[in-house]
């Protein structure tokens, strides 16, 4: 997976997707999505709600490689944080500290096999898909004559469901095109709450712990603020969008839980020494290697010191290839 999704490949993919997003978004993103949704509606008993759910889950499952890569990168970055902090301390009074720190950081990332854009890359790649899916939902069920007329330009001639348009937008008693606040009870309140709760779970399970107290505090605030804000905004969203966000969050939580273990939701994924050690090994660093320079933070996480420039690409590779053996030997 790692070899396949090399940094260069990611860059090329990212640039290509960005170009598509900018120049031919309708052709390459919206068109296939709208056609899939319309076809799914026909297959799933003319139920557009089921079509949205099935399609959202399918797209998220197809993006698992990106999610895995993002999660692994986050874990590696997390494991490197103590060393980053130690390095910051070391260079804080140095006259050329900023440059040295930057150079050391890059070396550290290189040796650990961490891509600085590794966390951001998959997210950027997913952005056109999320916006596309959102747009596709509302293009597939247009509410206006203009929207309906324009739909004909998106649907493929060979799509057997093309003549079933306009689709019925009712789903378990609510109109998916109408605002959530207009949905019948209990959906008008349940949907915002479910969207907020699922977003909280999604953020909680994928959050990267911070060594910095201020950042940790901000993280904590964001963990609560964003779901609450989104929950309130959901009242003003069309119900179809709320259904899409809800199921996207739920499948995201499930995928991350499978990758990182269910403990992640309880906040123990990065918090235990075992987990940190595993991440550290994955990042190509060992505890023993830096035992004299390490320090203990929060009473649990073993923080790794800098490796004094001994790391190199070869060591990082071997660390990635044979983590278990390497760990055993050092014991």
């Amino acid at each position: 997976m790692g070899a396949f999704f090399s940094r260069r490949m990611m860059m090329i993919l990212g640039v290509a997707l960005l170009a598509i997003a900018v120049f031919r978004f309708n052709l390459f993103v919206i068109g296939p999505m709208v056609n899939s949704l319309v076809l799914l509606d026909k297959i799933l008993f003319s139920n557009f709600g089921l079509a949205i759910i099935f399609f959202t889950v399918t797209v998220r499952l197809l993006m698992i490689p990106l999610t895995v890569m993002q999660t692994r990168n986050m874990r590696k970055m997390s494991a490197l944080q103590p060393r980053m902090k130690a390095m910051q301390e070391r260079y804080k009074d140095h006259p050329d500290g900023r440059r040295l720190q930057s150079s050391e950081t890059m070396k550290m990332y290189k040796s650990a096999g961490v891509s600085p854009i590794g966390c951001l890359g998959p997210m950027v790649l997913q952005m056109p898909i999320w916006f596309g899916l959102y747009r596709a939902i509302f293009r597939a069920v247009p509410a206006t004559p203009e929207g309906t007329a324009n739909l004909s330009t998106v649907l493929y001639g060979w799509n057997p469901a093309a003549s079933d348009v306009p689709l019925d937008s009712m789903f378990i008693g609510m109109d998916l095109v109408d605002l959530v606040q207009n949905a019948p009870a209990p959906f008008n309140f349940a949907l915002p709450i479910l969207v907020g709760a699922s977003m909280w779970a999604q953020q909680k399970i994928s959050a990267m712990p911070s060594m910095d107290a201020r950042s940790a505090q901000t993280n904590q605030m964001m963990l609560w603020m964003m779901p609450i804000m989104f929950g309130f905004f959901t009242f003003q969203f069309p119900a179809g969008l709320a259904v899409y966000i809800l199921f996207s969050n739920l499948i995201g939580v499930a995928i991350t839980a499978v990758i990182s273990g269910p403990g992640a939701l309880l906040g123990t994924r990065f918090g235990t020494s075992a987990a940190t050690a595993a991440a550290a090994v994955e990042a190509g660093v060992s505890n023993a290697e830096d035992e004299n320079k390490g320090e203990v933070i929060d009473g649990t996480a073993t923080v790794l010191g800098e490796d004094g420039g001994r790391s190199d690409r070869q060591r990082a590779r071997s660390a990635r290839r044979k983590p278990r053996r390497r760990r055993n030997r050092r014991r």
Binding site: P145, T148, N182
Partner: protein, 409 residues
């Protein structure tokens, strides 16, 4: 390399929310495509701001500033998709506007003299949407609606065909209404005491006006097409012609249908269908025993009205969608020509003989409404809300008026 800050992430997410919320605007109609109507000395048009205005033909196409409904300053009617209908000295039509999916439709009846409402309480309103135009008989206005807001407990069907009493001295009264299983976006057509209208389930309904036998509002027959029907049917020589969203164009024999001699979901003797490559929204045109109709894919077909056979080797093609009805005119020395509105580009012109593309009209923008030919002029209402008057002979623009305020374009 710094980690992405949570605050930055928060801002990105907030931005995403605004982007998503901005798209909610897609729920509201954006102005309609009401076509111009020439009657007497005026051209009437429904402007995109929801007002009915008119242009004088006698004064070199000047905007009639003294005539308009609603009056300047009052709430407008909302987007107008249907073309106004002139019946004697009365103008009828419908409009609707939505706050998200909460829609209100209005049917209006105006005096051609001063644009005043013929009904004491103004318009007839319903909590629904009316996309198509109205049909008018001497004493009845007919129109199709989407489902009625069920909170008012005045109907739970998905759509209705309404018949209103048009008595100018009283408020409009519902004579009858016919419930359908799907919303109606189409325009009704009246012929020989029967009103014909299609719905979004693809059912064409033939409903009695009951002028003689008291069967008003009763369905006489129906036909299930392959896709939604939004176009206004055309009735001529005992046949009804219409297209649907399954890319199919139909010709049904009215007499055979009325006598029960044809199935509701199959074609009978003398009936035909034509498979194209796009949805039909435009009303067909019949001219000199040829049938002309365009699709949303921009293809324009000439068909034999008796058999459905294509008359041209290849269909005409315009850039953009054909939503409005084409118009025929005589091209000096070249026979009949057909002007075809394009939703995105200039108005195309094709020879009726072989479909060859001729010199078009430079509308400088899309036209989704039907075209109108009157004498030596062609009128078009663009998607930019400009009312254009072209000289047919040289294709030159004679007048361009902003339909909203009457100013020059």
């Amino acid at each position: 390399m710094k980690r992405p800050r949570p605050l930055l992430l928060g801002m990105l997410i907030s931005l995403s929310i605004f982007v998503l919320a901005a798209c909610v605007g897609d729920l509201n109609p954006d102005g309609g495509w009401s076509a111009p109507v020439v009657s007497g000395d005026h051209v009437y048009v429904g402007a995109k701001d929801g007002r009915i205005t008119r242009l004088s033909l006698n004064e070199d196409g000047r905007f009639d500033t003294g005539w308009g409904y609603p009056p300047v300053g009052a709430d407008t009617l909302g987007p107008l998709y249907g073309t106004p209908r002139i019946n004697g000295d009365r103008v009828f039509g419908a409009a609707y506007d939505c706050d998200n999916l909460d829609c209100d439709a209005q049917v209006y009846a105006l005096s051609t003299d001063d644009a005043s409402s013929l009904w004491p309480e103004g318009t007839f309103t319903l909590p629904t949407s009316i996309v198509g135009a109205v049909a008018v008989t001497d004493d009845t206005v007919l129109f199709g609606t989407a489902g009625i807001n069920d909170e008012l407990d005045i109907g739970d069907a998905e759509g209705y065909l309404y018949a209103l009493d048009t008595d100018p001295d009283a408020n409009p009264r519902v004579r009858w209404r016919f419930a359908t299983d799907a919303s109606i976006w189409g325009t009704p057509v009246v012929s020989d005491g029967v009103v014909y209208i299609g719905d979004l389930d693809g059912v064409l309904h033939a409903v009695s006006l009951g002028e003689s036998d008291g069967s008003a509002g009763q369905e006489i027959w129906n036909f299930k097409a392959g896709g939604a029907i939004v176009s206004e049917p055309l009735i001529t020589n005992g046949k009804i012609y219409f297209g649907d969203f399954s890319d199919t164009f139909y010709a049904l024999d009215i007499a055979a249908r009325e006598s029960g001699g044809a199935s509701s979901n199959a074609l009978g003797f003398g009936e035909w269908s034509f498979d194209s490559d796009g949805w039909f929204w435009a009303t067909p045109l019949i001219h000199e025993n040829s049938l002309y109709v365009g699709t949303l894919n921009g293809n324009f077909y000439a068909l034999n009205p008796d058999t459905g056979a294509e008359l041209w080797a290849n269909p005409g093609k315009v850039v953009g969608q054909i939503v409005g009805k084409a118009a025929a005119f005589d091209e000096v020395g070249k026979g009949t020509a057909l002007a075809v509105p394009s939703g995105e580009d200039n108005i195309g012109v094709f020879s009726a003989v072989n479909g060859a593309e001729l010199n078009g009209f430079a509308s400088e923008g899309g036209v989704k409404s039907s075209l109108v030919v009157d004498g030596r002029f062609l009128y078009a209402h663009t998607t930019d809300d400009h009312l254009l008057k072209f000289n047919i002979a040289d294709r030159k623009l004679f007048t361009c008026i902003d339909a909203e305020n009457g100013g020059a374009c």
